[in-house]
Symmetry: C2
Subunit: 423 residues, 2 copies
């Protein structure tokens, strides 16, 4: 048991970062600072859970109020993230014993882990340290993933901003190709993230709306690529509209189950070419239909684009950070603040509590009812789901023409242990 | 000679479109509408000069004041553009005779052509129709090109917004990779436009500034790719900072003079793979240095990104459109409104008049003094040139989370000729 009711907190960022994960960090830290009677220091893990394992902690108390507030409009992971999954207690007991050693040395009683499905699993394991190893800790997961694939929560912070970016970019590029189509480019291909679930690709469908109809075709990872059907559809769209845009998920697979992007190419240097799927699709269209094309791969630009963040997304990212601390203060353990939609129109949401055991290691795929029967578009039901998530603008401050993002001081906490740990 | 002092105008968009070419159209049309005593109709060419050759004219008078005003915040070419270069009078006299036939039929006495270097050449030829073929016309070129390679004018409308997009995206992605570098991605590669001149690539250098220093390396088309030197530099940056970002121009060539992107690849469908240079660079880094990478190809996204337009760029694009009409009203022919910088700090500019003969077919490359001695960065002189061009934000209106761009009615003008013309 803790010496006093006041204990320190640990916060870490995990997995791929987003445009708004720092808004969650802001929510955690600002809320904790309002409860100094219960929460002492907020230590952040430098590079995620690795910071805990190596006793490389950051004292967020050294950051000014203004800099913590600026996290709300700064993309990326301000404390560093990592791709590192704890094994089960049976497989690597040493890791858990090390975590307890570090947590105990710094009197850490609250564990906030900001990540996706894998991270929820890590957080679940931490939440069991009290029961399994006798160390009292409350572990709360703070949801984050551009993939939007966590269960229970209506959507995941990070996704709404990517969706807004992809929808906007698809609309803008479609206007461009429409201008060029008479004598030049007729087909534009945009590759987007989402190796397993097609949520981000679906957002491309929002580019076309009642007031701005555009020919947009989507290739989902959930739908096996059908070459002939695809080409026929592109041909028809170009015949009707003079051009079309294709939004393709990086995770699209052919009938052989292999990624379309996995072409076994070698470049002139003799290196395996880990190419994108966009050029594969573009070249197919050119070779079979003869249309001039352009293609883009958004990659990190889509998830880092804080300049075009969804206001809804920013608010929700902050809210789950804030709620995580409030749940901790209520004595909760092994839970995650979830976003619950209470109304589509007008859009309303609230934060509810989800048991971590029901979140960890479960992927929420696109429901089949969100994809049109032909497999190339989104249904009205999908649109009703997606639209509120991209609503509102929340521009960062600009200086000299560029967004002004904060870089924290990230002052290390003095080590208390003489032992080290190799990760 | 015209029957009366009041004659009609022709306006057309040419070549690759930009985020602000419609702002120039807005400047032309709004200014012409203020001078109805001198300029009757403003006809736009549907798909550029092809609209003139085929007598496919759009009556911009059918568009509402609000829709014309909305052009200012709408990317792409609202009337359609084309890639079509008129041959010389000696090589294709029929084209010029056809233009005169169409212009005469619609009493067109003003010709406004909105494009880059090739288009300036077309405009120059049109401006000589009076002297060479006896048809009285005033031809004014309206500068536009993301490549920023027109001479005389300090910069080209369209470029500032691309520069802002590339600088912002490079900054955002650099923050992202910095977060991931400990256990995952250490090198991010962004491919940008600019096959001959490195202006757009140079803008990537703005991502790093005194208040936000970032390790950014630039590969210019003006600098022959030196594999060993490049790898050594990346290695040093990653060793020092833990990560780096590389902004690579699509036009980078190796010592053999060939584009690095031209790898002679074939994909699984057996098609020649017209890949980008970004994956080539990324794979090289991985193979030689072992760093995990991510890469993006911005392609159309960069030139269509009106959501992130530079306010300076929008104002200049409008100003050259407005000035073109004013020059026409002053009886000028064969000229182009140019942007002249009168002060760096504070940044000041004005519109001056450039003779078309000195604009057409001349490319303005990056001065060597704008590129650092090692060939991988921009100098303070370059920074002083670029910075004002990306200043200011000019957000479009949003509806339901998406920018609201206008699609014009584009009502065709009744044909007066019984003849047709094949382009």
């Amino acid at each position: 048991m803790p010496k006093t009711a006041k204990r320190n907190a640990f916060y870490a960022q995990s997995g791929g970062v987003t445009a708004v994960i720092n808004a969650s960090a802001c929510g955690v830290i600002e809320t904790a600072r309002k409860h100094r009677d219960r929460i002492g220091k907020v230590y952040a893990g430098r590079n995620g859970i690795i910071g805990a394992l190596t006793e490389d902690l950051i004292d967020t108390g050294k950051e000014s109020k203004a800099d913590i507030a600026a996290l709300r409009h700064t993309p990326s992971g301000a404390f560093g993230s990592c791709r590192y999954k704890l094994k089960g207690l049976d497989q690597n007991r040493a890791e858990y014993e090390r975590l307890i050693e570090v947590f105990a040395a710094h009197d850490i009683g609250y564990f906030f882990y900001n990540g996706g499905g894998d991270s929820a699993d890590t957080c679940l394991k931490i939440s069991q340290l009290g029961r399994n190893l006798g160390y009292p800790i409350q572990a709360i997961h703070v949801p984050k993933t551009v993939d939007n694939d966590l269960p229970i929560t209506d959507n995941c912070p990070g996704f709404g901003s990517v969706a807004k970016y992809i929808a906007t970019s698809t609309r803008e590029a479609s206007f461009d190709v429409a201008s060029m189509a008479k004598t030049s480019t007729k087909v534009f291909v945009l590759e987007v993230m989402g190796r397993h679930a097609g949520w981000i690709a679906a957002a491309g469908g929002l580019a076309s709306s009642d007031d701005t109809p555009l020919p947009v075709l989507i290739l989902f990872p959930e739908v096996t690529f059908d070459r002939a059907k695809f080409l026929a559809r592109v041909d028809a769209m170009v015949a009707k509209h003079g051009f079309c845009s294709i939004v393709v998920s990086e995770g699209v697979r052919g009938p052989d189950g292999k990624f379309l992007s996995d072409q076994g190419l070698r470049d002139a240097f003799g290196h395996a070419q880990l190419g994108g799927v966009a050029p594969v699709i573009a070249n197919l269209v050119k070779a079979e239909l003869g249309h001039k094309f352009h293609w883009a791969v958004a990659d990190y630009l889509q998830r880092a684009a804080r300049h075009l963040a969804s206001k809804t997304d920013v608010e929700q990212a902050y809210a789950v950070g804030k709620a995580a601390v409030e749940m901790a203060l209520k004595g909760r353990n092994s839970v995650m603040p979830a976003i619950t939609r209470t109304s589509d129109s007008p859009y309303r949401w609230k934060i509810t509590e989800a048991p971590l055991a029901k979140v960890a290691n479960r992927e929420k795929m696109m429901p089949r009812s969100f994809i049109t029967r032909d497999g190339f578009g989104i249904t009205p039901k999908c649109r009703a789901y997606l639209e509120p998530l991209i609503r509102g603008e929340d521009y960062p401050p600009f200086r000299n023409g560029l967004p002004r993002y904060v870089t924290l001081k990230n002052v290390g906490v003095k080590r208390k242990l003489s032992t080290t740990f190799n990760v």
